[in-house]
Symmetry: C2
Subunit: 337 residues, 2 copies
Amino acid sequence: MQKPATIKDIALRLGLSISTVSRAMRNAPDISPETKQAVLLLSEELHYQPNRLALSLRQKQTHTIGVIAPNLDYVLSTMIRGIDEVALEAGYTVMVCQSNESFGREILNTGRLLDSLVDGFIVSVSSETKIFDHLKKIQARGLPMVVFDRVTPQLSAPSVRLDNEEGGYLATEHLLDQGYKRIAMLAGPANLGVSNTRVEGYLRSLKRRGVAIDKKLVIHCDFNQDYAYYATQELLAQRRRPDAIFTISDRMALGAMLAIKEKGLSMPQDIGLVGFNNEPVMRLLTPAISSVDMPSFELGKAAAKLFIEVMHNNEDMRMVEEVLKPRLIVRESSKRL
Amino acid sequence: MQKPATIKDIALRLGLSISTVSRAMRNAPDISPETKQAVLLLSEELHYQPNRLALSLRQKQTHTIGVIAPNLDYVLSTMIRGIDEVALEAGYTVMVCQSNESFGREILNTGRLLDSLVDGFIVSVSSETKIFDHLKKIQARGLPMVVFDRVTPQLSAPSVRLDNEEGGYLATEHLLDQGYKRIAMLAGPANLGVSNTRVEGYLRSLKRRGVAIDKKLVIHCDFNQDYAYYATQELLAQRRRPDAIFTISDRMALGAMLAIKEKGLSMPQDIGLVGFNNEPVMRLLTPAISSVDMPSFELGKAAAKLFIEVMHNNEDMRMVEEVLKPRLIVRESSKRL
DNA sequence: TTGTAGGCGTTATCAT
DNA sequence: ATGATAACGCCTACAA
């Protein structure tokens, strides 16, 4: 139950002044080897550890990065592992706050971290977020902020993201290549850039191939597996039902798969399915499900590296935009040639 | 780029003393309505937010809970969501550090958080951890610490965990009920209590049924899916191969499933399979895989509640041990009657 | 009702 | 080479 020792304690017991002890700790140049020895010895004995709060208060930096994440699912936690790895290396502690896709929680979390707890932010917004004032406040405070994965034009900040348009394009091209004619898309919430960009890729592919675009085939719903399930049921109930479905996440692909199986349709013959994220389980399902793979770990690392750079550079890096490329992993669910 | 306003700034601009402003903020009783109004107004205008560092330094508490987690997979992140929910409610911020199952990282993380950053810890140890000095240090400092999920007798701390023995028992009983005779078990690292306790449940069931115990059927390997895959290959290559496999995690069950399918064996006829954790995908696989379900979210909430209690109680709660019950979810992979 | 002064643990500046 | 002092932002006796 003993209180942690402070330099004051050490100074007292050694009959030295506080500043001398402080110097010894930070092995400053102007100090005699003997006193330094003595101080180090005693500090060892007392298990002295500098008080980070006091330090931070003085130097006005906490060496902590706040990470705002909408959830902790497979993709995000992989990205966070990447962030963590780089941050740790650079001497930063990472503080992860997950908003559970709730706008309110996101505001709360940023607010708390902003109360001088962190030196800056690495942010991915919740799917509910349509207003960005709480994040702009970060910038107004002059704190560095990097946006990752879920990027939005409404936020003028350096960012790292996937080429989502390309992802949507790749998936759609592949489905067309496999002879699918009527490709539906389960998109995410309509205000989420990530989702819309993937839709754009989908549209680009269709246009390029001269395939008529049917708006009834693009369904916006929650990322949730259940919503995808119901949405797919509705899709399959349409008079001219789609013969392929491209979902914006693997979770949604799972929901779609369930509905497809229940309906008694078979993949890839009756219907093709392509997901997004390439979660490890996708290859284990029957049929194994195709998916657009994104380099999540690398993306996290890139975000952290960018953050460190922004931190140490004083230049305006708001326009920096790093874009990683997706690649399509073709599996049984969409391979019928 | 403006520095955040301090009470000093406000005091200056209002011609008041710092303490008066401070009082106004915390709506202390002895203050005139007018000055209070004025202060609140200006503080609003300047976007004043109290500096948590200064506050913490003074009051010697940070209102932050450090969570040490071995990873951020499905189970852990669900638990953390539970922790988060309760902690937030109680006015705490949660700081999650994930050790990536590395002992070194775990030490590093606890060390950093211990530097006066958190008021206490909610801990689940890495699978590598065999020495617990870094965690005992937390207690030596008089900080509250609750252990969750991965509990160990080497740590005398209040804890919340699953009844793992029961989980192992349930799964094994079920397999025996289904007529499986030779049940193998893929256990986790040998030093991990969670793993060993599940093995104990497995053994209890076998003994009760009078089934001979074959040590070659209990394999300790990493949690990793790949290890499980190889381990299963070896199991299936044994002269008298097992006719059922019980794995300590769903990830391992996936690895086992791959090996089983590759070998051309069918579930549940040739071989039965039961996993642990009941991750959502298990029900989507073909065949759907049985699994021992654990109330992860509830467990996280319970851990946080216990923490708050320990925090506010001064009594010695080291002996408190909360145990949640698992339940078996039977699916195709093990249901052959 | 308001102000003064000291302290939380540390570092930086200026003396000595 | 060492010490005294002010400061970081806030709170809290105590004094006025």
